[in-house]
Amino acid sequence: MKELLTGNEAVARGIGLARVEVVSAYPITPQTSVVEEVAKLCAAGKLKTRYIRIESEHSSMACTAAASMTGVRAFTATSSQGLAYMHEMLHWASGSRLPIVMVNVNRALGAPWNLWSDHSDSLSQRDTGWLQLYCHTNQECLDTLIQAFRLAETVLLPVMIVMDGFILSHTMEPVDVPRPEDVDAFLPPYEARYRLDPREPHVFNILADSRDFMRMRRQAHEDMNRAVELLEDIELEFQNTFSRSYGVLEAYLTEDAEVVLVGLGATCGTVKDVVDELRRQGFKAGLVRIRMFRPFPARKLREILLNQKKVAVLDQAVSMGAGGTLSQEVKQALFDDPHFRTREAPLVFSFITGLGGLDITPEMLERIFKETIHASGPQEEPCWMED
């Protein structure tokens, strides 16, 4: 049934549909309405979840991880400074191989204080061993939440669902809310393979020697890499039940494109409009929206980009002293091609914009496409688009 929901409300609905057993969360703008909605649904008896109104994000992830370790489906949500405050625990959750799902509502990291969306909070957690899925509609937020538990519980790694603050979190869109019985069929109750169990006692996370430690890290890395194909399999099933799917990345009019823009998240909706407009004007523009950022679907991206001449990357986060975070990933994916030296790789242009919620307007996106088309090659420094 279609309902008008904000992204945060869609997330709260997803918690109920996924039959999450423990939620531990702390309010932070712009995630706050998730915890409010969960509290409301719990108080009204519409959600059977145990909701712990915890005192900090560090504790929130510690609590969620411990609940997950005890064998239940566990969820939390955060944003920005809260995600940064969790950093230690993010490594702990992935190192413990816990299938936690978390929503991070993007917001810039201070200082100075800023409330609006960019991708620096989630992208700076890229090495924590969490899968990262970036959504671009409220429908996708809800659907991804349901898919994410299947994914997490199969690879035994935590999944971070990422959505732009305010743009998705506080904006209403029609969302097709799945029927609970359909979700139950797609996402069966969680039975942990390894858990804290007095009947079969184990002590988890004790000291490991270097050899064991390194072997465990390698296992996690290899298991995470499997998640690309696994998500595709899960999506096939999802498509059969719900008639929707998203892919690990979405290629929009790329086949004959002169310039392909690569981006993450909600802005990609605007990019699609701009691509349509540019094509009306006679410019062959295209878009690759990367939905799965970790594991990075490098091979899939290469399949699309290696036939291109020019790629513009929309960087909504910067690794200071190195450049746009996403463009680094794109360049590395191209470089990782076994035939890198024998074939011509596309030119990669980095456009840093939208930091601290700076509006990314259709006009700005048009300029990005046109500047890329007209330039002979990228400058050494990324291009900062400030208006």
Partner: protein
């Protein structure tokens, strides 16, 4: 202490890596015997964190989970919530942390769990310093004590954690030591029987950290009680105080001089410590006496 108790199952394998004479491990062995097999232990960084096993084996026979330093109370909260979510109200959850993980880095999570009145036991093994990292000061380190980060002796007094815990109005708070086993067992059993947050404050003599011989642990713990440096008492609901033992007063300097960590304390400073101890004892005794006189007052 009966024969049945000593013959009841052990949940600590021999051959753990704790120091000889560690006060905590004696207590931990006994508390696990009280709680039994149906227990989950939340462990954090510190002596228990590093000695809870070396992959693939652990000296602990019950289910256990290690969590980073600041988070043991939050982890215990999560374990309890998950058990409750699956309808398991029988399994006991115990969070175990040293004074660093309790008085310092873990205080926020502990305070919040206490305020929510989470249903688990919290055991703080207070050895008055960061002993696992090689004897550094914590906020539980007493006045004048030498540590590697207070080479001139610690300037301020020990943080009054019991007062902080009492202010949370938790259902049960108790102090215990390895030197009074009957008292220890009674409190462990009381903690087991009560619902909500139960806090056990264990004075855990640390031979390397305190500068005492390994075999002096029980003697030092007993002296701490006899000198009234560490009184044995219980607090119900943050209000009703029961003094479990009123020892004849032994001079505090007997306790201080038995440890090399207080070697720089002058007689004058020891006299100051004596006054502090006397003051706190008088305060505690007055509150306990007042409650004893009101024992039948239903309003309490």
């Amino acid at each position: 202490m009966n024969k049945d108790w000593w013959e009841s199952p052990e949940f600590l394998h021999p051959g753990h890596a704790f120091c000889a004479g560690c006060g905590f491990i004696i207590a931990f062995r006994h508390i696990l015997k009280v709680l039994g097999a149906d227990t989950i232990v939340a462990i954090t960084a510190g002596c228990l964190g590093t000695n809870s096993g070396f992959l693939p084996s652990s000296p602990i026979k019950v289910a256990g989970y290690n969590t980073p330093f600041a988070s043991v109370a939050a982890a215990a909260t999560g374990i309890r919530a998950a058990l409750d979510a699956r309808g398991n109200s029988l399994t006991q959850v115990i969070a175990v942390a040293g004074d660093g993980g309790t008085y310092d880095i873990g205080l926020q999570a502990l305070s919040a769990a206490a305020e929510r009145n989470e249903n688990f036991i919290y055991l703080c093994y207070d050895n008055e310093g960061y002993m696992n990292t090689g004897v550094q000061r914590s906020s539980a380190t007493p006045l004048g004590a030498w540590t590697t980060t207070t080479p001139e002796g610690k300037a301020g007094p020990k943080k009054d954690l019991p007062a902080i815990m009492m202010a949370h109005r938790i259902p049960y708070f108790a102090t215990l030591t390895p030197a009074f086993p009957e008292d220890f067992l009674a409190k462990a059993r009381q903690a087991e029987a009560i619902k909500g947050m139960r806090f056990l404050q264990l004075l855990s003599p640390c031979p390397p950290g305190w500068g005492i011989p390994s075999q002096a642990t029980v003697k030092l713990a007993r002296l701490a009680v006899q000198t009234r440096v560490f009184p044995l008492y219980e607090v119900y609901d943050g209000k009703r105080i029961i003094l479990n033992l009123e020892p004849e007063k032994v001079p505090v300097k007997d306790y201080l001089r038995a440890q090399t960590r207080f070697r720089t304390l002058s007689d004058e400073e020891m006299e100051h410590v004596q006054k502090e101890v006397d003051f706190h004892w008088a305060e505690l005794k007055a509150r306990a006496d007042w409650f004893a006189s009101k024992a039948d007052d239903a309003a309490l």
